[in-house]
Amino acid sequence: MTVLDVRDVTKVYGEGGTAVQALRGVSLAVEQGDYVAIMGASGSGKSTLMNILGCLDVPSSGRYLLDGTDVGTLDDRRLAIVRNRKIGFVFQSFNLIPRMSALANVELPLAYGGVKAADRRRRALAALDRVGLSERVDHEPNELSGGQQQRVAVARALVTAPALLLADEPTGNLDTRSTADVLEVLDGLNAAGRTIVLITHEDDVARHAKRVIRLVDGLIVDDRRRTHVDEPPPGLVGLR
């Protein structure tokens, strides 16, 4: 089943002579359970593509179907619901809300989704346990290391059980040890059936994905499958 279906999407920033073509017609379909790494130099349009996939930005032309729904036709309110229920977003700079405990941060998407307090707490604790942080639920972001913060962010992204987990250079700000921790979590999630799309410019990170796509100047130039969708992610196999 196709979770994500992008058809001939373009994105232009600015107007007239100063207009910049960030995406020049990208088409991409991602199956459920897949683990896709999008690679490219800076300026290749990979972040723009990611923002469009995450419904944070809208394409200049083309269609984007998420879980069968054409996102382009949705209004502001429905778009917020889609972001809340269907997408989990992990940012390079963690983007946790300061002065809120890890637990409160993870509960946040559930709160906006209208989940009751007791249920919310149970699910948030489960998500934090999943990323190995059940010991630190009451710590605020500034009391956590970068790797721990990113794992909280992953917990926040997966707590709503979204159809798609998007990660925009999730290890870009992390040291080797933390990178390994976060990738292990992602690998585990994918092995459990979660669809993951991540952006990276590191080959080491891309090696964890089942499928690697390269973007150059707003176009897909290379789309290589490394492992079949139904198999466990190569990271888990390789490390064992």
Binding site: L56, D76, A80, R83, R85, R99, A111, Y112
Partner: protein
């Protein structure tokens, strides 16, 4: 979700306690000022009304007109008139003052008698001729006291001027006719001369003449510059004989039968005096009549203007407080743009963001409003420039309501701006 939005709002406020506190202070001062200043205005108008009522509501005060303009009955009411120094030499002195008038008459006991004529003045209940002694030094058993007002009059004066007795009795018509040296004293005189001793029946010496105290008046309190209790009231002939001489009267206090007949009484005595003093259309009257009711309505309308003015000044400070809220909320929104972006990226609907910032603004202003009410109420317990503020309940409701409305109104612009932010732009914000 409402509860979550409230929680987020309170957390946002708590994150910046000093800033929230200062913004609240702006509203606090505005609301407190509205309540307190309106209370001061109200208090001062109440005080003026009490002073006037103290003089008796259905009385008219006739005084000789000493100025050229004559007709304008200004200058603070009967309380002042009482204090004016006693009449100078009769006849000649009065004629010198008159200037352009052909002939000016003093007020005499005969004038008063004429006003008391039931057929010519049916609306008049009583007429009391009054003389004031300019300097009266009273002494009792070694202590002495300078009495501010030493009044010579008839017993009807007590009722007309609303002077209830505390101990003893008033003097009587009999005392007046028989020229007895008796006196009723005010509380200040009583305390200064007698202290704890019962004054009734004691003899005091006033400018060398012995008077017997027959009664003590109830406390009236001070009215503006003057202590209304620093007074002594004695029969007219006794005062004329011993202190002022048999000259002109300082004033004639006329009491109308009912408050409704005050105006009728005024025109009746005007006619009588015009006739007796030979005043026709072209001549300026040599007397003036002060009507307490007219005075009261004039003063109450001017004190209303005063209250509105004070309230308007305070309202401006409330407005400034409201602008302070907008300012601080704009800063907050700018500062937390990234946080707004994160919230939107994880699916916060627009309403939740809007609600959060609106609640923050409203809580600031409501908190400021409540504290302002407390400050205003506490402040009203104290005298402000000699005025005891009297709180107008509607001003509390109004100030609180306005402060909440200000929070909603002035908070809606920044909140809207936050809610309208596009997530991708908000996230890029540093």
């Amino acid at each position: 979700m409402t509860r979550e939005v409230l929680t987020f709002a309170f957390r946002g406020l708590a994150a910046n306690k000093l800033r929230s506190g200062l913004t609240t202070l702006g509203i606090l001062i505005g609301v407190g000022a509205v309540i307190l200043l309106v209370a001061v205005g109200n208090g001062s108008s109440k005080q003026v009304q009490q002073n006037i009522e103290r003089l008796g509501t259905n009385t008219l005060t006739v005084t000789p007109s000493t100025s050229r303009g004559g007709a304008g009955a200004r200058g603070g009411g009967g309380g002042f008139a009482r204090a004016f120094g006693g009449g100078g030499a009769p006849g000649a002195g009065a004629q010198q003052q008159t200037g352009p008038r052909t002939q000016a008459h003093d007020l005499t006991v005969d004038d008063a008698r004429a006003m008391a004529d039931a057929s010519a003045a049916p609306s008049v209940k009583s007429v009391s001729p009054v003389v004031n002694a300019s300097s009266a030094n009273a002494a009792y058993a070694g202590t002495s006291h300078a009495i501010q007002q030493f009044v010579g009059t008839y017993p009807t004066y007590f009722e007309a001027s609303n002077d209830p007795i505390d101990r003893g009795t008033y003097f009587t018509n009999d005392d007046v006719l028989n020229d007895r040296k008796v006196v009723v004293i005010g509380q200040t005189v009583n305390e200064d001369l007698f202290g704890t001793v019962d004054a009734v029946g004691k003899q005091i010496t006033v400018n060398g003449v012995n008077f017997t105290v027959v009664g003590v008046l109830k406390t009236k309190g001070s009215s503006g510059f003057q202590d209304a209790d620093d007074v002594a009231i004695a029969p007219l002939p006794a005062v004329q004989e011993s202190l002022t001489g048999y000259g002109a009267l300082n004033q004639i206090v006329v009491q109308a039968k009912t408050p409704k007949t005050v105006d009728a009484a005024q025109s009746e005595i005007t006619d009588i005096l015009n006739q007796r003093h030979g005043i026709t259309g072209s001549n300026t009257a040599d007397f003036q009549i002060m009507n307490q009711a007219t005075l009261q309505s004039a003063i109450s309308s001017s004190s209303k203007t005063f209250t509105v003015l004070l309230g308007a000044v305070a309202a401006i400070s409330l407005l400034v407080g409201g602008i302070g809220i907008t300012n601080i909320m704009l800063v907050t929104v700018t500062e937390r743009t990234r946080e707004i972006g994160i919230r939107k990226a994880i699916g916060a609907p627009r309403g939740a963001i809007l609600g959060q910032f609106l609640v923050e603004a409203t809580v600031l202003s409501l908190l400021g409003g409540l504290l302002g009410v407390a400050a205003g109420v506490i402040g009203s317990e104290f005298k402000v420039v000699g005025v005891k503020p009297v709180i107008v309940p509607s001003s509390i409701v109004l100030a609180l309501g306005v402060s909440v409305a200000i929070g909603l109104f002035f908070g809606s612009y920044p909140a809207n701006r936050a809610a309208k932010l596009r997530p991708i732009e908000a996230l890029r914000h540093e």
